[in-house]
């Protein structure tokens, strides 16, 4: 924030300056943080190597909870990605104004979240070195994957999604990287020159780029629905009570947007605080993100109610018991925690005061992320724990290896995002400039009533 109250709103140069400031060589604290993240990643990798060497016995998996934390992490990260795509692609198509300042961070989050998620199916395999058997590749035994299996659909869905979201991210970056290139020196200059793919900012380039970006956004948007549905089918296509539900597609989509919005909030609040971006990321932006959070929370609550209603309405005996165990069983605390955080707390966002309070949003977004993680764990292990044969019930408890790998996945994600934030334009200069009028309005409404 400028020291004296500005008379006119930010200019193009102001935007360039602010964003380029983020990309200046980082200080010591930054490197400590990045080193911390990648140390945790190294520990997790060590745990994984040990797991590959000794077998899945090092996990807390058992009969009947054959899936647990690893699949939870997979679903958690893939769902997080969806919210990023929603903000960057869907809101682009709708020409939403507040999107411009936040979308790049959301898009980066998507890319890294999918990259994190994609590792988990491998970690979870009993014999991960044979993972490529999931792919249809020509081989002399004519062995192909079973296309009836939701896991094969999953393989396709996730790899498609990973490709699209990375391409979309890179595409959007081109003009901004070129912008950074113009101001950079030394190795950065070389790096940005390569990364900007020869962008020179001609009218023709802008025209093609805009069209390509629009098309990519159009391609990415349906993936929000399709990938999320396919992931939900990993469960819904089973007959396990608590999984075998048609609501799982929308249920997972609502959850995805909810947890993703929360993660975008967390990331942006940290970014704003550490990089002094109050001018670019205003309360107006956070207000809108909070509204998205509230909306998705309501949608999720509706899904919860639907699920309970359907169980009651169908009177399926297996489902009823499974649901009962979810509410009152030995691990019922997970359910009640989720209800409190996902359904009740976000209702506070009906008040503008909370929507615009950065500390409230920060705490809430962290809580939502935690509880959404538990929600997936509850859905996955809870249902498996109490399926058809009561003699074979059993409740899951995580092991050290699983916990370390989970922590490592968070470290991996945050480490990658931290690197991205300081070496790539984490806020889109291009789009901010396009919508500079809206930014000025936001600044006027929120901070400087005297602004022209």
């Amino acid at each position: 924030m400028a020291a004296a109250e500005p008379v006119s709103g930010p200019t193009y140069a102001d935007i360039d300056r602010s964003v380029r400031r983020i990309m200046e060589p980082p200080g010591r604290a930054y490197w400590v943080w990045v080193a911390f993240c990648f140390t945790l990643v190294a520990i997790a990798v060590g745990c994984w190597v040990n797991q590959i060497y000794s077998g899945l016995g090092v996990t807390g998996l058992k009969n009947p909870t054959m899936w647990a934390i690893y699949i939870t992490n997979f679903v958690f990260w893939i769902e997080m990605a969806h919210s990023g795509t929603l903000i960057s692609a869907l809101l682009y198509l709708f020409r939403t104004r507040w999107r411009t300042a936040v979308y790049r961070a959301a898009e980066a989050m998507t890319g890294f979240a999918v990259a994190t998620a994609a590792i988990f199916p491998l970690i979870h395999l009993g014999r991960p070195w044979n993972f490529y058997w999931l792919l249809p590749y020509p081989n002399e035994r004519s062995l192909q994957p079973d296309f009836r299996s939701p896991l094969v659909w999953d393989t396709f869905a996730v790899s498609t999604y990973l490709t699209i979201s990375i391409l979309f991210l890179i595409m959007g970056l081109i003009p901004d990287v070129a912008n950074a290139r113009d101001a950079a020196k030394g190795w950065r200059k070389t790096f940005y020159s390569l990364a900007s793919l020869g962008w020179s900012g001609t009218d023709e380039q802008w025209q093609h780029w805009s069209m390509a970006y629009l098309l990519m956004a159009g391609l990415a948007t349906p993936l929000i629905i399709s990938v999320m549905s396919v992931v939900s089918w990993d469960f819904a296509m089973n007959q396990v009570p608590g999984w075998h539900e048609t609501i799982f597609g929308p249920y997972f989509a609502a959850g995805a947007i909810f947890s993703g919005a929360a993660m975008v909030l967390t990331l942006l609040i940290v970014l704003r605080k550490t990089m002094n971006l109050d001018d670019l990321l205003t309360e107006w932006h956070f207000d809108n993100l909070a509204k998205l959070l509230l909306l998705s929370s309501l949608a999720l609550t509706y899904c919860y109610i639907c699920e309970i209603f359907m169980t009651w309405y169908t009177k399926d005996p297996f489902d009823t018991v499974s649901m009962h165990m979810r509410f009152f069983g030995p691990q019922a605390w997970m359910w009640w925690f989720c209800v409190a955080i996902n359904c009740i707390l976000p209702l506070g966002l009906f008040w503008r005061r909370f929507r615009r309070s950065i500390p409230v949003l920060f705490v809430l977004s962290i809580l939502v992320n935690v509880s959404m993680w538990y929600e997936r764990l509850m859905l996955i292990t809870g249902s498996l724990s109490t399926s058809f044969n009561p003699a074979q019930w059993g409740f899951y408890h995580p092991s050290f290896t699983e916990i370390m790998i989970t922590i490592g996945s968070f470290a991996w994600f945050f480490g990658l995002f931290s690197l991205f934030a300081r070496y790539m334009p984490v806020i889109s200069m291009t789009e901010l400039k396009e919508g500079i009028r809206w930014l000025r309005e936001a600044l006027r409404d929120n901070y400087y009533p005297g602004l022209k």
Partner: protein, 973 residues
């Protein structure tokens, strides 16, 4: 099975007889020889079968050992043997883990002065032994003692006695921790003879067991289990389709009780009073058989103080219950009372009950030419121990028994043995007694050795070595013969070796055959696994005059320890075998531990909570075990299985649980105790979560009346569902469609199928931790449920084998991304282990939860891995595995049929579980062949309305059809 000789039995016999080469005839080479120079009789990949005898207990079942490339890999029942009739129990199967036990003594060892063990050569060991023996016998008579197991078999007994004679001793102690002495005492009192009767449960329609665990360890469990299966099978009795009515009278609910109609919970030691009271009812109501020729007046005098009212007052058993038992028993067309326990009065009452109702000679009979009492009397044992303590014994030879572990604390066996200057221990896995020995000698296992058995009149089992010895061990008989010769006494042991001794005794069995064709008789006996002749029933009469005085029944203590032999570990001898440790005890479902089963009310009174370690103190000592709260014990007892609590005995037994022998009195399994909470806990480990079925149709039951009337039981009726829409076309099974019919009613909970599956399919054991972590690997398990409160009329316990149902619409198949789980053309749910990448999706989607995942690389410490079946892949870590109806056996038969250009016959393929089931509860066959025995069972008249599919509403279309459990409605007591 019927009296006739079934095709199944014939094929088994043919396979047995096909084996001509007899390994082990030569003086044994001392180690396994690698398969470099093949024997011309051995075709790699083709199994050989040798008939031999099981000596894991004294029941005397015959076994057929399957040998592959010179190693025994599987034991099955010998169909020619009249006791097992082609089946064996879990303990019989686990003999394999005895022969390949990694903790077996490998070489002779001597204890040095520092107490450490030193390997010595056999020559030195023999010299040490024989020199000491010579010195001892030179000092005088009876300076040498032999302590061995009672069920040695006649020849080994003969050799032992010859050896003792050579060293001028008569101190042969033949010890068995759990004896039939009370039964023999009672028989002597009632009938004037000390032998044990044989039973025909199948000829009865009412059965009362006074604490006899005939489905577990009592007498001859395989034979009695089979008979009980017949007893409980629906048959037309007195013009109506019905099942036998059975009572189990005991303070403890075990799997025998679970398979009866009523469990009469009595205070500890009150079985005799109930038995006498039932007799009172029978006599006073005049249900005495006219054929029995018994002086009723005298008998009435005998039971006069046991009228139901006063017994009811003493024991808390309702008068109505006692009267009903008496009435059913007296009126039945064939009834049998069985008795177990340490109180001769119970046995006497049961004998008299059978006799007065005319069932002597019908459901219970004594045979002429019964084997002599195998055990030494306890007086002999005590006096021998006393002489050891006094230094009157110089050499003690302990063979194949573990007195230090299982003798009552009062006898102080360890102290006595310590006083002997030279203690020679001979056996397999060094046990607590070996810890006190100076010289340890490795003995051949029963599968490496010549033996014979004589469990009952007319049954002479022959045991031949089925493979070369695994370690540097020697046969006990050879050792004793050689040692006896060393004594210098002329003609001390007139045999060359054990084989010679067995054979010379054998020729006396059938002198006529031996005279005409001695060799032929010998070879045919070897092929058949013994010589079996019909035995004549003895004419016995009840000696009423001996009963005139009223028997005194015991005081009922306020709180008693009711110890019982663990169904698989028995008196402790099974504890070194991991299969037996890992197979859950069917009622409690607990593994790898000792537990103290106690009523929740008693626990509350003593301030004891679940899994809390309690100290059980008797006048003899104290043991500690975690409490297992259960409503299935009498409030006046704490019930503890015998078998654990070893301080030696190999890695699988050592340091596990507690040893109840330490608190028991001589000859008793029940003792007054006090219990004390310790505030320490140890979690008891079970493979099972919930004991209630929650109304789900997993194991179903119906009453005998419903069966007779053709009415379906209400609690399992499902609403009429429309024909489900099928997305995929139905499977087509052009050749075969394998299926099973499992009679849940016939399952006695013996768990032989589980053990057989472990052996056949290389199923790894996972140990206590593994089971606790929910990773038990068994492909077949006994699914047990207790009825819920609202269904109290239902059977006492539901029990049925649960294994892969080989569904037509298998939920496991479409979810596998790589076709590791696939549908075979013969209807099996195949599992391609090499293709499996371990997504575990299949197990998630399996409603029966019968798939098992290898969380670790399975391990069989050498030489346990020698037992692995080469026909079955050993699965590595990260792979899902499951039951495939023993697909290796199916393929073997199909290929054989193909080579012989003929179709596969019904009954030619028998999966391991079905093969070993004593009650034939499991049958296997081709569902395309409507005339196969398995299919006929589903449509048999007596099974009408009994069939069900487990969890049918899921439309998985299992290939296993179950037949409902049957039970009689209980009177409301």
């Amino acid at each position: 099975m019927s009296e006739g000789f079934s095709r199944r039995s014939f094929l088994k016999l043919a396979a047995t007889a096909g084996a001509a080469a007899l390994p082990g005839c030569e003086p044994a080479a001392r180690k396994l020889i690698p398969y470099v120079v093949p024997d011309e009789n051995v075709i790699p990949g083709v199994p050989q079968f040798y008939a031999t005898s099981c000596t894991e207990c004294g029941a005397g079942c015959g076994t057929v050992a399957r040998i592959r490339e010179g190693r025994v890999i599987k034991l099955e029942g010998n169909p020619a043997n009249p006791i097992g009739q082609g089946t064996i129990c879990a303990r019989g199967h686990a003999a394999l883990q005895g022969v390949y036990n990694p903790d077996r003594l490998r070489n002779p060892m001597q204890r040095t002065s520092s107490g450490a063990l030193k390997t010595i050569p056999w020559e030195e060991a023999n010299k040490l032994l024989n020199d000491a023996l010579k010195a001892a016998s030179a000092k005088g008579k009876n300076r040498v003692a032999f302590l061995g197991q009672a069920h040695q078999g006649p020849t080994l007994r003969k050799i032992t006695e010859a050896w003792l004679a050579a060293y001028q001793s008569n101190r042969g102690i033949f010890y068995e921790a759990i004896t039939d002495t009370p039964a023999r005492d009672a028989a002597e009192m009632c009938f004037g003879r000390r032998d044990l009767p044989v039973y025909h449960l199948d000829k009865a329609e009412v059965l009362i067991s006074f604490g006899a665990d005939f489905n577990e360890t009592w007498r001859s469990p395989v034979e009695l289990g089979r008979q009980y299966g017949e007893f409980r099978a629906p048959k037309t009795r007195q013009g109506k389709l019905s099942v036998g009515y059975s009572y189990y009278v005991s303070p403890r609910f075990n799997v025998t009780a679970a398979r009866c109609d009523e469990w009469v919970s009595v205070p500890p030691g009150a079985e005799a009073a109930i038995a006498l009271s039932v007799l009172h009812v029978v006599l006073s109501q005049g249900w005495v058989s006219p054929n029995a020729q018994i002086n009723v007046a005298d008998l009435k005098n005998f039971v006069s103080s046991y009228d139901p009212a006063s017994v009811s007052q003493r024991t808390g058993v309702p008068v109505k219950m006692i009267e009903a038992m008496g009435e059913r028993f007296g009126k039945a067309d064939g009834a049998v009372a069985l008795a177990a326990g340490d109180d001769p009065a119970t046995h006497a009452a049961a004998y008299v009950l059978n006799a007065v109702t005319g069932n002597l000679g019908r459901t219970m009979e004594f045979l002429e030419g019964a084997p002599p009492e195998p055990e030494s009397s306890s007086n002999d044992m005590v006096s021998s121990l006393e002489s050891m303590r006094n230094g009157a014994v110089d050499v003690l030879f302990v063979a194949e028994t573990n007195p230090v572990f299982s003798m009552p604390a009062k006898w102080q066996a360890a102290e006595a043995i310590k006083k002997v200057p030279l203690v020679v221990w001979a056996g397999g896995v060094p046990d607590e007694t070996a810890a006190h020995a100076h010289l340890l000698l490795p003995l051949h296992h029963q599968l490496e050795d010549w033996r014979d058995t004589f469990p009952r009149a007319g049954v002479h089992g022959l045991g031949q070595p089925v493979m070369q010895p695994v370690f540097f061990s020697r046969p006990l008989g050879d050792l004793l013969i050689a040692s006896a010769r060393e004594s210098g006494v002329k003609g001390a042991a007139p045999w060359e070796n054990t084989q010679d001794a067995v054979r010379s005794g054998w020729e006396k069995l059938n002198p006529k055959a031996a005279k005409t064709d001695a060799k032929g008789f010998w070879v045919s006996s070897l092929r058949e696994g013994g010589y079996f002749e019909p035995a004549t029933a003895a004419q016995v009469t009840l000696n009423v005059s001996a009963l005139k005085t009223s028997p005194a029944t015991r005081e009922i203590p306020k709180l008693a320890l009711a110890a019982y032999p663990h169904p698989f570990l028995y008196d402790g001898r099974g504890a070194d075998k991991p299969w037996l440790q890992e197979i859950p005890e069917p009622v409690t479902q607990l593994v790898w531990d000792t537990w103290a089963e106690i009523h929740p009310e008693t626990a509350r009174k003593h301030g004891i909570s679940k899994d809390e370690i309690i100290e059980i103190r008797s006048s003899e000592g104290a043991i500690r075990a975690p409490a297992f709260l259960s409503e299935r014990v009498h409030k006046g007892i704490v019930s503890v299985p015998i078998g654990q609590g070893h301080s030696e005995f190999g890695r699988y037994a050592k340091g596990r649980g507690a040893n109840p022998w330490e608190v028991l009195k001589a000859g008793r399994l029940c003792v007054a105790v006090t219990i004390h909470p310790t505030r320490e806990r140890r979690e008891l480990v079970s493979a099972l979560y919930e004991g209630k079925e929650l109304g789900r149709p997993i194991v179903e039951a119906m009453t005998a009346t419903q069966l007779a009337d053709g009415v379906q039981p209400k609690e399992w009726q499902e609403p009429e569902a429309p024909e489900p829409y099928e997305m995929y076309p139905a499977w087509n099974y052009p050749k075969h469609h394998w299926g099973m019919t499992i009679d849940a009613n016939a399952c006695t909970g013996c768990s032989a199928c589980v053990a057989a599956c472990y052996a056949e399919n290389n199923v790894p054991f996972v140990g206590r931790e593994g089971v606790n972590n929910g990773r038990i690997m068994s492909w077949i398990r006994l699914e047990r449920f207790f009825p819920q409160k609202e269904y109290e009329h239902q059977p006492l316990m539901f029990l049925t084998p649960m294994l892969c149902q080989q569904c037509n619409h298998a939920p496991c198949e479409p979810v596998c991304p790589v076709f590791a789980s696939y549908h075979t053309a013969e209807g099996l749910n195949g599992q391609a282990y090499n293709r499996c990448i371990g997504t575990r999706f299949c197990e998630n989607n399996c409603p029966y939860k019968v798939r098992r995942f290898n969380f670790w690389k399975p391990e069989w410490p050498e030489p346990l891995n020698y037992q692995l079946n080469p026909d079955v892949t050993v699965r590595g870590a990260g792979v899902m595995e499951k039951c495939t109806f023993c697909v290796q056996r199916i393929r073997y038969a199909e290929i054989t049929a193909l080579v012989e250009k003929r179709p596969v016959h019904d009954g030619e393929i028998i999966p391991a579980c079905a093969q070993t089931c004593p009650t034939n509860a499991i049958s296997f066959g081709d569902m395309n062949d409507k005339r196969s025995k398995m299919m006929l069972r589903r449509v048999a008249k007596e099974n009408k309305g009994r069939t069900y599919k487990s969890l049918k509403s899921l439309n998985t279309l299992p290939a296993i059809t179950y037949l409902r459990e049957l039970y009689n409605e209980r009177e409301k007591a």
